[in-house]
């Protein structure tokens, strides 16, 4: 099931200067820690002049769409899914 939400979320973002890679390592949502097992896709979009980075990531059992507002540097969780039909 896919659920569209829009809620603030805590995200730990890593930067590996040797591999020049940036990736979310874990997130805390509703008091639970989810470690990021896989990054599906990273893309960007703009609303006006504000740039947003979208990380589509997966933990062992759930998918998360994490959005970073580069103006406020705040994260929001916009979508979760377990990949199962409704």
């Amino acid at each position: 099931m896919i659920e569209k939400i829009s809620t603030p979320v805590s995200v730990s973002l890593n930067f590996d200067h040797k591999k020049r890679r940036v990736y979310p390592k874990f997130l805390i949502w509703e008091g639970k820690i989810y470690s990021v097992e896989k990054i599906g896709l990273h893309h960007t979009y703009r609303v006006g002049r504000t740039l947003f980075h979208v990380f589509s990531v997966a933990s062992k059992s759930l998918f998360f769409r994490l959005v970073l507002n580069t103006e406020t540097l705040h994260w929001r969780l916009e979508e979760i899914s377990d990949g199962l039909p409704e």
């Binding site: 896989k38 896709l41 893309h43 960007t44 979009y45 006006g48 979208v54 759930l62």
Partner: protein, 392 residues
């Protein structure tokens, strides 16, 4: 004009590559969400039962789900089908990454749509590796640099048309060539409607002259094709099937348009006008950003009973202000003789002219109006679309 009619298949090496991203939107969604991989999913304009499926995944296609089907039809064929909403930014980002990667091989990269590219590799160092090697390398790089779930079908041929045909021979993940040595064998396995540009009506035209398959089509004398198409198209087909290039034309921009499929049927003009305002704002912003004005507005309406109405109006004066364009588009909509539930609305500007110094109007202050519209555009670019939109 006398057309040569005894042309053999082009003996030149294949230097054109056509790249087709398989089940583009659905595959990108599966790339983004690893939990969807290997499952039947479809991207639909709306997730409601009457929403239109715009991209089924490769797994969904195996159940018979096709582009254009309704969500409810798709779910009948596959009850576990997962419906996703479109995310244009995601697809655009993948398209741009792919385009950047492909430009490492040649500067002659032409995007044909969001999921198709044509590469001309003639005389480029990359082609020395061999076209198949380049194709394999591109596939590997896509998996490594863009996403391991993204698959492309690649076609190689001496011309664009046959490269596209080759790219659809084995889907997904194909890599095929059509050349002087194998074209007859490949033509033998294709039906007329497998060719891009030949659908039922063109096939019927050809059938009338005794052409029933692609081999017949290739072997048909030029006069027969001319009789079938009753235009220069017959000659173009004669050349295409012989691997000669006829499609390397860059068509200039003739119009700017935006369309919107309504989530629920609306009939009254007061209900449709807010949608028209948004369409006009988007379309006219793109028009101005590209440095154009227009002297024509076209409106198209698709109804729920599958009927269609459209009208275009040409003007003497130059249009660029969204308020004026909206006024004209609204006038056209008011002239629609049908009051039926609307499925889709589209507006476009045509008769484009490059924005230069404006013609002075006797009763209007065009320069002031231009400055105002520029300021509104700047505000919308800074704060986001529709922050300021014309009042109706």
């Amino acid at each position: 004009m006398v057309y040569p009619s005894d042309i053999k298949f082009n003996p030149n090496p294949s230097t054109i590559m056509h790249i087709d991203l398989n089940s583009c939107f659905a595959t990108i969604e599966q790339q983004a969400n690893p939990h969807l991989r290997g499952k039947p999913v479809a991207v639909a304009a709306y997730s409601t039962p009457s929403g239109c499926i715009i991209a089924p995944s490769i797994e969904a296609k195996k159940y018979g789900i096709k582009v254009g089907m309704r969500v409810k039809e798709g779910k009948l064929l596959c009850p576990s089908l997962l419906i996703l909403s479109p995310d244009p930014w995601k697809y655009r980002n993948v398209h741009l990454s792919l385009r950047k990667m492909l430009s490492d091989y040649t500067d002659k990269v032409t995007p044909k749509s969001i999921d198709e590219f044509v590469l001309v590799l003639e005389n480029y160092p990359a082609s020395r590796k061999g076209m198949f090697e380049v194709g394999r390398e591109i596939k590997q790089r896509i998996k490594k640099e863009i996403g391991e779930w993204i698959r492309v079908s690649i076609g190689i041929a001496p011309n664009r048309f046959l490269a596209k045909t080759a790219s659809s021979l084995h889907k997904p993940d194909g890599l095929d060539e059509i050349n002087e040595n194998n074209f007859l064998e490949i033509y033998r396995g294709l039906s007329l409607v497998d060719l891009c540009g030949i659908k039922l009506r063109n096939a019927a035209r050809l059938n009338n002259l005794g052409i029933f398959n692609v081999l017949d089509f290739y072997n048909a004398p030029f006069w027969k094709l001319k009789a079938a198409f009753k235009s220069v198209l017959g000659y173009y087909w004669y050349l295409r099937l012989r691997g000669l290039e006829i499609d390397d034309v860059e068509l200039g921009r003739h119009s700017y348009g935006n369309s919107f499929t309504l989530p629920k049927p609306l009939t009254r003009i007061e209900e449709l006008s807010p949608i028209l305002v948004k369409l006009v704002s988007k379309m006219s912003a793109r028009l101005r950003r590209a440095g154009y004005k227009a002297r024509g507005i076209h409106l198209a309406v698709w109804f729920y009973d599958w009927s269609f109405w459209h009208k275009g109006v040409a003007f003497q004066r130059e249009l660029f202000d969204p308020r004026e364009i909206y006024k004209e588009a609204f006038n056209i909509l008011s002239r629609c003789p049908y009051r039926k539930p609307v499925r889709q609305l589209a507006v476009s500007a045509f008769r484009l002219l490059k924005k230069t110094n404006s013609q002075l109007e006797l009763f209007e202050r065009t320069e002031e109006k231009e400055r105002l519209v520029d300021s509104i555009d700047e505000i919308n670019e800074r704060w986001g679309d529709f922050v300021i939109a014309p009042a109706r």
